[in-house]
Symmetry: C2
DNA sequence: TCAAAAGTATGATATTTGTCAGGTATCAAT
DNA sequence: ATTGATACCTGACAAATATCATACTTTTGA
């Protein structure tokens, strides 16, 4: 499945500055570059699977990845996304528990792999790196607790509006001002926590009310303020 | 509000072994003990408040604490609990973001406070401590993503059954085999993400079906297996 | 000790949402 | 072009749950 490719160097990695590796010095980067592996995953391919154990940390060099876990009778729940510079699979390594989520490429992606041994070496050597990791996990928790609150308290419509805004933040816009990620209606439902039909109906509703425009999977946000109103406030 | 009290020593702290400070040597413990503060909070008192900034790490010495954030129009969402040995307030310190949740004492509690400067000193000095912190945040994420999935996919009844089982794990049982924590129906609703009335009705239903017994706020689990069945599977 | 307040309980009703069933559009491969 | 597969869409209905109204009970505090 996964093919070897020309390995991108950490030193020249465009995503490094916004990654957890931003504080490493050049010696450490050279070393990281030697220790790491790298693989290409085409759209839909599984990068790692919920339930297995992570033997290192994955870092997205290029592409888009969804992280999801299986809930109720096999239904997928998307818990977060990863794009260039984001790391994945470290929680399992740190907690010595099985991976809590699977990672699947949403488009053709390049993902590097840092073996656990070298990761722990970095922690030992470089307190700044520990702090970056802690900062990252702290932000993750913050997002997660917000998501828990939304899931528990908001209506499907509110959650969908919020997710659209969040997708825009996460993936940005393409040249046509559409959200720069292709998700099926089912995948959107699996983020929002509802049935596919509900998403279809609500998107049609948003379109009717000129909040968004739709062209297949491509979604353009026309009225950000309106969506914010729906997401945060009254129906 | 909060009163000073005789400060429990870290060296003799019964909860230390199961805490994030378990790997510190005796010198480090002495120092920690000198740097830390400690306060008593009576039932219902606020330990810290969502939105402010944490200047250190709180560690529960004794008692029970709920961590909750405000959602939709001021409704409380309980995101986790903390008991002896658990730490709180570190995410804000690490991410430099405002505190994402408030901490409120569920019963009379003693909570120590480690200033940020000393926390960061420990991170710098002791990689083992960094690892313990990372392990903790990793486990938190794992729990959070599970909770997100449950909130998104399970029915109220399933979530309530799961929460009862989780409360038992978190707080254990008292001498009468009741779950050793006193929560109002409203607080339970604020964990499960539903209305108070729904909790009352469902608890009555569980009682009718001999899954639990009720005596005011005291809940005894009579049929663990039955609750597991409800939580994980069919209705 | 009493009154007020807070918490608990139950019924009736309205709304939201999930489920099922059927239909159309799109795309890939033969 | 035809088929089959998959995704997308729509309507009807049933079920779950929120909301509102109203008691009852317990706790709190003056």
């Amino acid at each position: 499945m996964k093919e070897k490719l020309e390995i991108p160097s950490c030193q020249k990695c465009g995503a490094r500055q916004k990654s957890v590796f931003c504080s490493l010095n050049s010696d450490q980067l050279v070393q990281l570059n030697e220790e790491k592996g790298c693989d290409f995953y085409s759209k839909g391919e599984i990068i790692f699977k919920e339930g297995s154990y992570s033997k290192g940390l994955f870092c997205v060099n290029k592409g888009k990845v969804k992280l999801s876990r299986l809930g109720q009778s096999g239904k997928e729940q998307i818990v977060r996304f990863a794009t260039a510079g984001d790391v994945m699979g470290y929680n399992s390594m740190l907690s010595k528990r099985a991976l809590g989520a699977s990672a699947i490429a949403l488009e053709d992606s390049v993902v590097c792999f840092v073996p656990a041994a070298h990761f722990f070496e970095l922690i030992k050597q470089e307190p700044e790196f520990s702090l970056k990791m802690l900062e990252l996990t702290a932000k993750n928790w913050d997002n997660a607790s917000k998501l828990i609150t939304n899931m528990a308290q908001k209506t499907t419509k509110q959650r969908l509006a919020e997710m659209l805004l969040w997708l825009k933040e996460t993936f940005g816009l393409d040249k046509d001002d559409c959200i720069d990620v292709q998700l099926s209606r089912e995948e959107i439902a699996n983020m929002v926590g509802t049935a596919t039909e509900a998403v279809i109906r609500l998107l049609a509703d948003f379109k009717k009310n000129k909040l968004i425009s739709l062209e297949g999977k491509r979604i353009k946000l026309l009225d950000i303020h309106g969506l914010v109103m729906i997401a945060d406030l009254v129906d």
